[in-house]
């Protein structure tokens, strides 16, 4: 078995399993926790739970004007690497083939040159995020190992992917195998740390939206 066979075969299968069961376990164990029944009277005219949840989600997509001065850069940088990652993951032809084999669906790919640009921009944006974390007194104080691990396992596939498409430093098969292994690492780490925010954001924003909407408040 070559390294590539290992990466594509057992490593990736194991990573998929850990990802799926890990995420399910985290979500189920959260949703099974006791929830107190809300007994206070809702404010008359409060929106329905559904619209409160949607509003709560949408409201936190972008900082309010009063906060923009302090948060614009970090917010933009956050959007850059999140969208960049989405473009790379869902836009590259080779990635779409993986989705095709997993779920049987596909969609038109983006030009690989565009993906390369997106990858470079994403990498730069991730580096900026790390530099901010290491230099801002607030971020330095509140950062834990979890934050750095999440950064590392997210950034690694971007770097290994860029190396693989540019055939730099080693034979293509080896580079591809390393890239796939780095993704396996990402998938394995995903459920157990900060990366879970990709799922939890739907619970927190909507939960807060519902909590305050019944008070007639807009947070």
């Amino acid at each position: 078995m070559t390294l590539l066979d290992f990466a594509r075969g057992p490593a990736l299968s194991f990573a998929y399993a850990v990802f799926v069961f890990g995420v399910a376990w985290r979500l189920v164990s959260l949703l099974l926790l006791p929830r107190n029944k809300e007994l206070s009277q809702a404010k008359p005219g409060a929106p329905s739970v559904f619209s409160a949840a949607v509003l709560g989600f949408v409201r936190h997509l972008w900082p309010q004007k009063a906060y923009l001065r302090g948060t614009l850069f970090a917010t933009l940088n956050g959007y850059v690497f999140h969208l960049g990652l989405a473009i790379i993951v869902f836009g590259l032809a080779q990635h779409i083939l993986v989705f095709q084999s997993l779920f049987g669906i596909n969609w038109p790919n983006l030009p690989s040159s565009l993906i390369s640009v997106a990858a470079v921009v994403t990498l730069a944006s991730l580096v900026v995020a790390l530099v901010r974390r290491l230099t801002s007194p607030v971020l330095r104080l509140i950062s834990t190992g979890n934050d750095y691990i999440a950064w590392f396992v997210t950034t690694l596939p971007v770097i290994t992917g860029l190396l693989a498409v540019s055939h730099l430093g080693a034979p293509y098969e080896t580079l591809l195998a390393i890239h796939i292994l780095s993704i396996a690492l990402l998938l394995i780490v995903f459920p157990f740390g900060k990366l879970m925010h990709a799922f939890l954001v739907f619970l927190t924003r909507t939960g807060t939206g519902i909590f305050y909407a019944r008070r007639g408040a807009e947070i």
């Binding site: 926790l33 809300e38 206070s40 900082p63 309010q64 906060y67 509140i142 925010h197 927190t204």
Partner: protein
Amino acid sequence: MTVPIDVKAATRTFLAHVEEHLVTYLEACVHCGQCADACHFHEASGDPRHTPAYKLFPIAKAYRAQKWPLSWLGLGPAITERDLKEWEELLFDTCTLCGRCTTICPMGIDIASIVGTARQAFVKAGLGPTDLLAAADSSRDHGSPLGVTAEKLKDRLEWLADEHEINIPLDKDKADILLTVSSIELMKYPDSVVSMAKVLNHAGVNWTLSSKGYEATNFGYLAGKADIAKLMVERIVDAAKLVGAKTVVIPECGHAYSALRWSAANMLGYPLPFTVLHISEYMAQLKREGKLKLAPFTQSITYHDPCQVSRRGGATADARYLLQDFATDFREMTPTGNLNWCCGGGGGVQAISRAADLRYKVFKIKMDQVEKTGAKTLISACSNCRLTMDESKAHWKWEGGLGSLVEIIADNLVEAPPSAGNGV
């Protein structure tokens, strides 16, 4: 300082309150640090420890410790005495539970609700500022944090009624409206109590105060003493049931409103058999019903939104509605409404004497905001905000005026001639 700290009790208490939304909040924080920008304590001090997300660290640790795979072997993270000592100040002195950090959080995490729960855990461990805890104990033992017993209440109300020649009903058998008071008002801003009475008399509603349940402030709630919080709520609920009140009116006190309006039913385990309204909401309702006749108020004013009434209470628009067509020179601060900067003394911080310097620093944000509007007077609808601002004003020898919403309304009521009554 010499009392032993019960780390286990803290962990147990926090875990007993572990609910789905609180844990989700703890696990979802991405440590982006944006909440620091929204927190008045961080804004005033520049101390990174005042970052709201950082204040949750011991709680997150307590929770992680419990679900750590090897925790049954005593391995993994454990909450320590040092953690609790260091964070006591952060959770009590540097958080007013104002919820401003929620408005900036990209994950939409409601940090204030976790801090509220965390305080209970700290108190169970034998921690917490002694003056804040004493205020809670005094509420339990004497009916009010400032020692206003039922007897004192009666004396004080009689004196106010005589002095101002108005009717302040106490212990009527039946009434539609039960009015509650804050002892801060009774002792320091008695005009505020008189003003509420004037408004209710003007509107011609059937109302009373009750010596069975009069204190609206809930220091049990603020000090993390759940038993006292519940007791304070029960007193008002029992009084309201006794007089058959359909509505309980909360005076100008933000946390009193929050405790009774949103938490009381959950503490008691059943829905309240009456509606709870903050005095500003109630006055807005009276205005909508045409029961509030006001002469224009021409002084320049700006309005400080109490966090629990506006941002976390949903009554932001009611204050504006009251001021509309009444306060002819009303100027908004920037930011205002739901994003208003806190006074620095909510959430019990006002009662913590060692936090005074920090409160003063926070008030500088407000002074600056008010000065930019050019308004002469800053009015609020929370006597706790007002007290915090009054003390800070004295500290900085600030020239700006401070006032109360209900007082300017009461001072400008236009009494209709007796024959023109609408019979309500």
